[in-house]
Symmetry: C2
Subunit: 217 residues, 2 copies
Amino acid sequence: MSALNDIPDRQIARPSGLAEEVYRRLRADIMSLRLPPDTRVSVDSLARELGVSQTPIREALSMLEANGLVSKKHFAGYATAPRMERAQLDALFEFRLLIEPHAARKAAEAMVGSDIALLDSGAAASSHDAFADIDTDFHKRIAEGAQNPLIADSLSRLHIHVHIFRSCFRSEIAAEAVHEHGAVIAALQARNGAAAEKAMRRHIERSYARLRDFIKD
Amino acid sequence: MSALNDIPDRQIARPSGLAEEVYRRLRADIMSLRLPPDTRVSVDSLARELGVSQTPIREALSMLEANGLVSKKHFAGYATAPRMERAQLDALFEFRLLIEPHAARKAAEAMVGSDIALLDSGAAASSHDAFADIDTDFHKRIAEGAQNPLIADSLSRLHIHVHIFRSCFRSEIAAEAVHEHGAVIAALQARNGAAAEKAMRRHIERSYARLRDFIKD
DNA sequence: GGATCAAATATCCTATAGGATCGCGGGACG
DNA sequence: CGTCCCGCGATCCTATAGGATATTTGATCC
């Protein structure tokens, strides 16, 4: 563990700097489409709007850039990443299919019962937005349940793009997705790794097919 | 395609800003161990050393932080990430084994012959450092040959950690690794996806075993 | 020699300012 | 009417400065 990042149990957690708060704000705005895809992001406007200087804005945007959520062009400034097109959607789901079924298998073996109990299939979601947030949480928890930070991190990075893509289309809650989530949860509860992997693969494949329909080639 | 990032054939590429140049410098220093793992990185010292103001330093460090190469603690500043320990090495190779064999299979189907011809097994490397650079290039090219930017990007992110880890130990050139690279290349040349996947899996597993020996539990 | 404390120094973080660049609108010209 | 040019305002990018915080150093005491 790095000497800079240790927060053992009894130490007092440090407050965040402004840059980190700006990062969180912008990330949330991107996810919720308050900052839509392919939109100019002005450093000066943001500084005025958030009531801070340009410095933390630029730092936050630098981090968002490294995460692929915004892009930067020298002397022209920043813009949010555009909505995924077909090739990117294909690439993303290829990637998910490599990782998430494996993560579900690992989670079936490693997750503690209290964490499994926190999984929510989204059955009680009252709106598309609520379902999208539950879906994000569902996949995040299982990725974390795989006990591999790289898996959790890489899925987190890409899931935000799924979230944004889906939000652009304001689809109805996918009753199928709720059903598929349920199958994954049942396999996890049964500690059946093979079944969890299979259920997650099926869910990802079906999710891919549903999202693909939004893009007309 | 985002309006900000288009560089169609006849447009003039933009120069980089200072922040990007600082990012490249620091990244190279981290990779070469000129900036060792778990080392404080002072914004003011760097600004003096590189002859620029603090602003591009902070922006570059923000990007490096988002990439996991440095960490930041509020009011205490930045430090390079520590050398991987056993759990992180395990996580990293689990991840590689999910991705790289698949990438090799894809590359066997998709890579053009001229790119395959550029693959270098490292047989002619004259030193450990030269071999490490060739190894990085080898894996990078195959990941790119898989034609999925997410795969290429995620492997690029993690490979730098392998590179740093290996550099810490200054091991001899692994003649075995050269041989394994050769098997991967042969399968790619033969356009045999299954063989490429198998050869890459074998290489990653053996590489893992070799690196694991450096960490005494 | 080790522990403690206070002062000095270095560094972190952010705000502000200024020069460079870009984009837009209006006017001139053919 | 369409095109070109120029000026102006907005924005980008970086340097600088100053207050806040952390680290180091030196003195004192046991």
